[in-house]
């Protein structure tokens, strides 16, 4: 007897009888019994479990929003209350893939609208209804480019988020796709000279960040101008920035991917976030992931349904465009609700406030003699020389309730004593001044 399992003793008896066996054991024909007990505690009631887990949660330090100066792929923004209220609706949460479209119009319409929003933000023509995260979205984008033009060399900016680079390597290696990294220039943008030199007939795609991992805004126009027509232009972007930055689609990007966590998803210790994935309509049949389309029912009423499923693994099996099945649809819903709530004006304000705050911090740090490592234009993150043994200072800052700029050496050892600072609309002048006290 368990509250999650409704069977009474009497019902179990009745059911066994109907089946025509006398014990549960009779149902396990030919199944070896290899364990009697797991080396686990027996089950506990919800109140005891809650107590234990709340205790665990308190062993993590939650910082006041305004005192968080870290980004590097996961961002803190204000999340309107209704985003949580609405996305927690259990009719969303406990539904699955909309296999039965007629009773999944909630899911389907929300995802269709999400696709539209992502196209609007990126300036692209089609979006899928989500990938796991920015990193796998990039990896899949690269493999898609390879499927499109059959070439196996990828020129990728070294200033891409290192986690994305690492994941892309993992995905590319077994398929013999070669990632060739292009170094960054002194301004922090991709080295155009090197890029130009490395483009050849074997090149499938060029990948840059926009902004890149250092927060620097790549000049997509100049990069695109270097690319022969057949080479795909893949842009890894940050969606908040796209309310200020020109849409990659306007520069001729072929695939735009990125992490959508900043759009209303809590940081969640890094997951789940959501990978977004947009491309041009002509490539759609090479695109991985689920796509929702508009259609009509037999009475001519508008409705939504999964389309182009012949690309997917459950139909095409080994020949599918990807193995992705479960995706991050619920986070796409979160994104859609967040975007709906903020609207174009709200998003722009978030972007601009983030821009302002980070530039304010950068200027103040410079006034104190802390130099930026790169002087290219940046959106809301920048790398600066934080001085001797910054990493110790960083740990100590947590005791002051500050989650300081990331000591980049943790991720990229060559950047000793350099810190990647991030500000968003949650950082106030006061909290920045307070941070500066320690510099």
């Amino acid at each position: 007897m368990h509250k999650y399992i409704p069977h009474t003793e009497k019902e179990i008896e009745e059911m066994l009888k109907e089946i025509g066996v006398s014990t549960i054991e009779d149902l396990y024909v030919n199944v070896p019994k290899t364990i009697e007990n797991y080396k686990l505690e027996n089950g506990k009631d919800e109140f005891t479990v809650k107590k234990e887990i709340v205790k665990l949660s308190k062993q993590n330090k939650v910082f006041e929003l305004e005192n968080i100066f870290i980004g590097a792929g996961i961002y803190y923004h204000y999340i309107p209350t209704i985003v949580e209220t609405l996305s927690n609706k259990q009719n969303f949460v406990t539904a699955y893939t909309p296999y039965q479209a007629e009773v999944s119009q909630g899911t389907l319409q929300a995802l269709f609208e999400y696709q539209t929003m992502m196209c609007e933000l990126t300036g692209m023509e089609v979006a899928n209804s989500s990938m796991y995260d920015g990193a796998t979205a990039l990896a899949e984008a690269i493999l898609m480019a390879v499927r499109i033009n059959g070439k196996r060399k990828i020129l990728i900016s070294s200033a891409i988020n290192p986690e994305y680079l690492s994941v892309s390597e993992t995905y590319c290696k077994p398929q013999n796709v070669h990632l060739e990294k292009i170094k960054w220039s002194e301004t922090g943008t991709i080295d155009l000279e090197e890029l130009k030199n490395k483009i050849d007939d074997e090149t499938s795609a060029v990948v840059v960040g926009y902004p890149n991992f250092f927060g620097i805004i790549e000049d997509l126009k100049m990069i695109k101008e270097l690319l022969p027509e057949k080479i795909l232009f893949i842009v890894v972007s940050e969606p908040i920035s796209l309310s200020i930055l020109e849409a990659p689609g306007k520069f001729g990007a072929d695939i735009v991917v990125g992490e959508g966590q900043a759009l209303g998803v809590t940081p969640n210790f890094g997951g789940p976030g959501i990978g977004f994935f947009t491309t041009r309509e002509k490539y759609v049949r090479k695109m991985p992931g689920r796509i929702i389309g508009e259609t009509k029912d037999v009475e001519g009423k508008k409705g939504y349904i999964m389309i182009l499923q012949t690309r997917e693994q459950h139909i095409r099996r080994g020949k599918a465009t990807s193995n992705i099945c479960s995706n991050h649809a619920l986070m796409a819903l979160v994104n859609a609700i967040y975007i709906s709530t903020m609207g174009p004006e709200g998003l722009k304000k978030v972007a601009k406030m983030s821009y302002n705050a980070s530039h304010y911090l950068a200027r103040k740090l410079e006034e104190k003699g802390y130099k930026k490592v790169f002087d290219g234009p940046f959106f809301n993150e920048f790398l600066f020389d934080a001085g001797e043994d910054y990493i110790s200072k960083w740990h100590k800052l947590t005791e002051e309730g500050i989650l300081g700029p990331l000591p980049l050496e943790i991720v990229l050892p060559q950047f000793k004593n350099n810190a990647l600072a991030c500000c968003t609309e949650v950082n106030t002048k006061e909290s920045i001044e307070n941070l500066l006290k320690y510099f």
Binding site: I5, I19, N42, P80, A127, L245, G271, I307, K429
Partner: protein, 480 residues
């Protein structure tokens, strides 16, 4: 109505505090500054609330009723799990926070990893994969790394039974393998002769779902394991159907080298309209070094992340996986415990067999006899007699307020339903489902058109999926 049609220029649904920082002029090259406002919704908070409230009302879900999707294990998703996963101490932490400030999160992951090892009989495990298919890819990459590390470079093939989930061959291909599909035997299980023929020194791995998608236990599993290992290949366990074996046997005990789990199936985390899930991958000792980075370790009383694993396949996604999903699964395992987990397996199998028995008189079972957690029924005969297809029956089920089972899968059966009730459904629910199915079969015989044009009681009637894919509309068409 779409949110874009509700939108009204100038309306707002947001508020932001002032940060007291003066406005900076954009120091960005002019051509990189956005010119056109994206056509995003301009709506009030009320508009947003009503829009998504009404969308939610158009969704069927586990919380509404029976959802017997085969191989999807749509069990009840406990609400305490949701509550725990949304604690600030879990949702508001950054993956790069100083390690000493996230000891609770790491401890939870470390303990979850160990619990899952115990449940699967594996030696170590990575929580990084974001979904089942992602776990498969991870597992197969580990198999690849294993053979390569031994210099065994000719193993370029992966064997997959024809009853396998579509993700299996797709994942194998993504890991760079050629896929050899082998036919099932007449009993719905792996044909050992076929397997024998397929096994050779080019084979890297056999991917097996056990019980398989027909709900049948691969009774020759020890033999299969021996054959595979004797051929120098590895044995991979697709954990989609693990629910059936809880409390009875473990993939590790059956000889599997690699296993992926679906926390959103066996471990009750919600399916979220398609995700996020979580697909941890466990391995036996000889494969531990190939697991993705970072690994979570416990050293001198502290939890740490170790990236220094030279033979690792690398990162399979950013950071540490879908942490919030892990919190849910952890809560669930703590709640069920040893005794509860054993009860799950028994009741899942009991439910499937009971429902099988009720349904076999209506819709014949493809492979009769005792099943595990699910079974496959076919209406081929009815289709021949009346023209009513499995799809039509599925749609008609919606009219009666239950979700349809998985249809047209596995591919080796035709006009079929793959039905998995899970342990959280009551006898009443199963009885009711059988009754509805019988009613629909009667309708199909008496008035086939009625069924063929179903559903009627749903927010939209049957949708045109052919045109939808032929002339696809990918996004809202704005006016002007």
């Amino acid at each position: 109505m779409t949110i874009f049609e509700i939108s009204k220029s100038g309306r707002i649904g947001f508020q932001l505090p002032d940060n007291n920082i003066d406005d900076f002029e954009l120091e960005i090259p002019e051509h990189l500054i956005r010119k056109d406002k994206p056509r995003l919704p301009e709506v009030s908070e009320v508009d947003v609330v009503r829009h998504y409230t009404n969308l939610a009302l158009k969704n069927y879900s586990v919380d509404v009723g029976f959802y017997p999707l085969g191989s999807c294990t749509m069990k009840y998703n406990p609400k305490i799990n949701e509550k725990m996963a949304t604690l600030d101490g879990f949702t508001m932490i950054h993956p790069y926070q100083p390690i000493e400030t996230v000891q609770g999160a790491l401890k939870l992951m470390y303990e979850l990893k160990n619990m899952l090892c115990e449940i699967t009989g594996m030696d170590d495990l990575s929580l990084q994969p974001a979904a089942g298919a992602h776990g498969e890819l991870t597992g197969i990459l580990i198999a690849r790394a294993y053979h390569l590390s031994r210099g065994d470079i000719k193993r370029t093939k992966a064997i997959v039974p024809d009853s396998a989930h579509g993700t299996n061959p797709a994942s194998a291909r993504m890991a760079g393998f050629d896929v050899i599909e082998i036919k099932s035997g007449p009993d719905g299980r792996i044909d050992l002769n076929e397997l024998e023929k397929a096994l050779n020194e080019e084979v890297a791995v056999l991917m097996l779902t056990n019980p398989n998608t027909l709900g049948l236990f691969e009774k020759d599993i020890y033999k299969i394991s021996k054959m595979v290992h004797d051929a120098g290949a590895l044995l991979y366990y697709d954990g989609a159907n693990l629910n059936a074996l809880l409390g009875r046997t473990r993939p590790g005990d059956m000889g599997f080298d690699i296993v992926h789990l679906n926390l959103h199936k066996t471990f009750s985390t919600p399916h979220g309209m398609g995700g996020p899930g979580s697909g941890p991958v466990g391995v036996k000792k000889h494969l531990v070094k190939f697991l993705p980075i970072p690994e979570i370790i416990f050293e001198n009383g502290n939890y740490k992340l170790n990236y220094d694993k030279p033979e690792s396949i690398g990162m399979i996604r950013s950071f540490y996986g879908n942490f919030s999903i892990m919190v849910r699964a952890y809560t669930y395992i703590k709640t069920m415990g040893n005794d509860g987990l054993k009860h799950i397996g028994n009741m899942a199998v009991l439910n499937a067999n009971y429902l099988r028995k009720k349904i076999e008189k209506i819709m014949p079972i493809a492979y009769p006899g005792v099943c595990m957690h699910e079974f496959v029924s076919t209406c081929e005969k009815l289709t021949k007699e009346t023209g009513v297809k499995a799809l039509d029956i599925a749609k008609r089920l919606l009219d009666y307020g239950v979700h349809a089972p998985t249809m047209y899968f596995p591919l080796i059966v035709h006009e079929d339903f793959m039905i998995e009730p899970t342990e959280t459904e009551s006898k009443d629910t199963l009885d009711n489902f059988a009754k509805i199915l019988e009613k629909i079969f009667n309708e199909a015989r008496e008035n086939p058109e009625l069924v063929k044009n179903a559903p009627y009681n749903t927010p939209v009637k049957r949708l045109d999926d052919v045109t939808a894919s032929r002339k696809p509309i990918f996004k809202f068409k704005f006016e002007g």
